[in-house]
Amino acid sequence: MTFQEVILKLLNFWQEQNCIITQPYDMEVGAGTMSPDTFFRALGKERWNVAYVQPSRRPADGRFGENPNRLGKYYQLQVILKPAPSNVQDIYIESLKALGIDPLLHDIRFVEDNWESPTLGAWGLGWEVWLDGMEITQFTYFQQMGGLPVDLVSAEITYGLERIAMYVQEKDNVFDLLWNNDITYGDVRFQEEVEFSKYALLNGDNKTLRGFFDDCEREANRLLGLRLVLPAYDYTLKCSHIFNLLDAGGMLSYTERVSYIGRVRALARECARLYLEMKGESL
């Protein structure tokens, strides 16, 4: 099964579960959770079922394309089921069957893992799902988003697509994955990994990045003042990514790091609060 077949089969499965299939958010984000399709929709009382692939940037994890298991950018397949149905684990296991993984022929386990995003002011409880000892999915029941307790609990299912594909294709190096039958993951992404690792880990410009952060933060606050919550959130995401670049380049002391995280969180909280206020829902 090729990399793109893994994606298509999963999206197809979730489409059949009445999820809308949206497209990746067009900004740098660290995880599918940061897309507005999750961040805002997890708030409030409305039902929401969605699935999408989200390219996720983790500049500090970049390894110049040298490490067979680590990437500075990878693909998550994100599913939100709100409210979480009572048989959500069973549905998830069905999705694995759609990938040809027969639960009777493997050891699938739900092992405690509690998720927290200090920059989003968000946390939830759940598991990492093990397939024969390999973590293939993060499974979380959201409890808080943007510092606010959620009204309706969403189940968030995040598949690590490269991990799953490596398992089904029995590859030991991510760059050897078959994207389709004649193009590899390396053909598509290797140069990107090398260059973005060089940029983030070795060539980020401290002063420029700090300036960007300050500008984006100011812009986010200005937009919040104009009650333009979605544009304000875009600038919050930019702040978050710039912070990740500063962090990956080793440009922050411990105290600064804590303070930058606090600044992003303050914006995320304000976005969440304003979003609910504008929807006329009580906090």
């Binding site: 009572s86 639960p103 009777l104 405690e112 509690n114 409880l125 024969d132 411990y254 105290t255």
Partner: protein
């Protein structure tokens, strides 16, 4: 006699809540049964990752009687002149819902009154079990809770089914939107659909045939045996900790033990790293053969048979990827020796105002120099300083960034080829709970003191459940190192060296840990308090004193000894000024005898045991003194002289601590 069965069916519970949650269920259900006045023979608590099960055996049919005594009107108001009940009494009887037979007249300080003896709430037990079960489930406490449905009920993970039956009858109740019924579920994959339980005695057999080993004790024993059997087949020995065995027991419902292998080339990575990856990151059991690590591991899986080949292959690939990472880190790390990393310490900032790792090391160096001087350890001074200089440098390595729990051990491994044995071992062991060599102990003492004092200086003082930096654990560890090894050193001056801004709070905090430590060493509470009353900040001295008091307290003479000391203390404790005792003012032989004893008591240091023996004759001398000498006489000069004599006597006891705390007296 009927049996009640309650099964809370959940999504996978965190292994870390066990065994605490089992004790909670046992204690809380016993409390509830008592509170609801339900008689029973025994209870049994069982658990898997997906279910918490409670059996209550041989329940009483009805609640136990409880007779309440309620005061009514006075007798003369209750009965008329003919001895017949009045309206007042009849009204009282009606209000209490009893009959005239339940009324007794009893005398009270206010005169004779009517009392009703009312039997209350003798409901059938089957009617109250539902409420009891609800209360039990609601009372369970977890470190982290979540809600998942409309009622926002909090539990560790979602509850998906409730099985609640008394013999064969469903005991209905509802919690978190789930209705109790007579259905359970088997193994997540090996069993299909719900299973009806017609009566309690079917439960265990139904689960067993649905691939659930429901009894955690049995599961644990089985896993242990199978691991040993599997290891035996290849003549290896499993490296198994209690923590790992407990964890894997609560990660599976139906254990399969599978042997995996990895390439021998990974054995060139130090074993500590391989073991950490296997245990902490994959929950595998590492194996040892002929004293060295075996290139294989044991998986405790929740599936087997047909799946075994896939499970073995999959896990082998995972561990090989992880070891490749570790190997990569190890090669990169060893390219730069630790001594070349010292300069990088100033690039790593510490939280708050503590500066960098370099500042931490220099602070620790001042403490270490003090320890070396006080304990006269000049022969290891240079080695200690080398170990100190290197002990934090492993934080700049890839390996420790990836596996922070290997800090210390990793530094030791990287120092091993370059440094003397006591130097690398000091680094290796300084983060241990119980470092095996003096050099590592001293490093550990300096580090724990630095951690505690620097956090207190910035106001991070643990309170209640708030202890984000784990200072309580550091402090307990510090006092147990000092107490176990009898390193006799005053901590007060160390606090000064570290510029403590709140010495008293630091010492109170350490004393509290020391208190717990001494209790754990089997010293009685009051004796611990006595030892803590010593005017010292040496943990070793307090510990030795407490242990000796514990020994002495077994002797017959101990209560007499304590009583004597306390009598001297009581009478002189309000003495404001210090007077010198003047033998010229003595009037009685008993004063002279006491004075003579004090004068002749050896002034040089002696062991506490010897001091005890030598002080014993005082018991009689003091006894006669108090019998024959009236201390608080009118004459001020005489009175003060006698008090001064007793104060000096009490001083002889002071090396034992504050003996007024000791409860055992005559």
């Amino acid at each position: 006699m009927k049996t009640f069965l309650l099964e809370i069916g959940t999504e996978e519970l965190p292994a870390g809540i066990f065994p605490d949650i089992l004790e909670q269920i046992e204690e809380k259900s016993k409390d509830l049964l008592d509170r609801y006045r339900v008689e029973y023979r025994d209870i049994e608590v069982l658990a898997t990752p997906r279910r918490l099960t409670l059996f209550v055996y041989d329940l009483g049919e009805n609640q136990k009687d409880e007779i309440k005594k309620i005061k009514g009107p006075p007798k003369n108001v209750s009965l008329d002149s003919n001895g017949n009940p009045t309206k007042a009494l009849l009204g009282f009887v009606e209000r209490q819902g009893c009959s005239l037979e339940d009324i007794k007249f009893e005398s009270t300080p206010q005169g004779e009154y009517a009392f009703a003896y009312v039997k209350t709430g003798r409901k059938p037990v089957r009617e109250i079990l539902g409420e009891l079960a609800r209360e039990l489930i609601g009372s369970l406490e977890f470190q982290r809770n979540m809600y998942w449905e409309d009622t926002k009920f909090l539990f560790s993970r979602p509850i998906r089914w409730l099985l609640s039956i008394l013999d064969d009858e469903v005991i209905p109740f509802e919690i978190a939107g789930v209705r109790a019924d007579r259905y359970t579920y088997g193994h997540r994959f090996l069993s299909q659909g719900s299973i009806e339980i017609k009566s309690v005695d079917e439960y265990k057999e139904a689960l067993r045939s649905s691939y659930v080993m429901y009894d955690h004790k049995e599961r644990r024993t089985y896993i242990l045996q199978e691991i040993e059997r599997k290891a035996n087949e290849i003549s290896a020995r499993p490296i198994l900790t209690e923590g790992l065995l407990n964890e894997v027991t609560f990660l599976v419902e139906f254990p399969f033990i599978i042997l995996g292998e990895f390439s021998k080339e990974f054995l060139e990575i130090p074993r500590e790293i391989l073991i950490t990856v296997m245990i902490h990151h994959q929950r595998y059991v590492p194996l040892e053969k002929d004293g060295s690590l075996y290139p294989g591991f044991i998986i405790v899986a929740n599936m087997g048979d047909k799946a075994e080949e896939n499970i073995k292959k999959g896990n082998e690939r995972v561990i090989s990827a992880r070891f490749s990472d570790a190997q990569f880190f190890y090669k990169r790390d060893t390219a730069i020796p630790l001594k070349d990393r010292v300069k990088d310490l100033e690039k790593i900032s510490l939280p708050g105002e503590k500066g960098t790792l370099k500042d931490k090391v220099e602070n620790m160096r001042r403490v270490l120099n003090y320890l070396v001087d006080t304990l006269r350890l000049d022969d290891i001074k240079d080695d200690l300083n080398t170990a100190l200089t290197l002990c934090e440098t492993d934080r700049t390595t890839e390996m420790v960034k990836e596996f922070p729990e290997l800090h210390g051990v990793m530094g030791g491994i990287y120092a091993r080829p370059h440094e003397k044995e006591n130097v690398w071992r000091a680094i290796y062991h300084h983060e241990d709970e119980n470092p095996p060599l003096l050099e590592a102990k001293l490093l550990a003492i300096a580090e724990r003191m630095y951690d505690i004092v620097s956090h207190f200086n910035e106001g991070y003082i643990p309170s209640g459940s708030q202890d984000p930096y784990g200072l309580r654990k550091s402090a307990y560890n510090l006092v147990s190192i000092l107490g176990d090894s009898s390193i006799d050193v005053e901590l007060g001056p160390i606090m000064d060296i570290l510029n403590s801004r709140n010495k008293e709070e630091v010492w109170n905090f350490l004393s509290q840990r020391l208190y717990n430590y001494l209790l754990n060493r089997g010293v009685k509470r009051d004796l611990v308090e006595a030892a803590l009353g010593l005017a010292t900040t040496s943990v070793a001295r307090i510990t030795d004193t407490a242990l000796i008091l514990q020994e002495l307290s077994k002797r017959d003479s101990f209560p007499l000894f304590i009583t004597s000391a306390v009598r001297c203390y009581r009478i002189t404790k309000d003495l404001k000024e210090l007077f010198l005792c003047n033998p010229e003012y003595f009037e009685t032989e008993d004063e002279k005898a006491l004075y003579k004893f004090i004068e002749e008591f050896p002034k040089e240091e002696m062991s506490l045991l010897e001091r005890y023996e030598r002080l014993l004759p005082l018991v009689d001398i003091l006894d006669r003194f108090f019998k024959n000498v009236f201390v608080m006489v009118e004459d001020e000069k005489l009175r003060n002289n006698r008090l001064a004599l007793l104060r000096e006597t009490y001083n002889l006891f002071s090396p034992f601590g504050d003996l007024t705390k000791v409860e055992e007296r005559l």
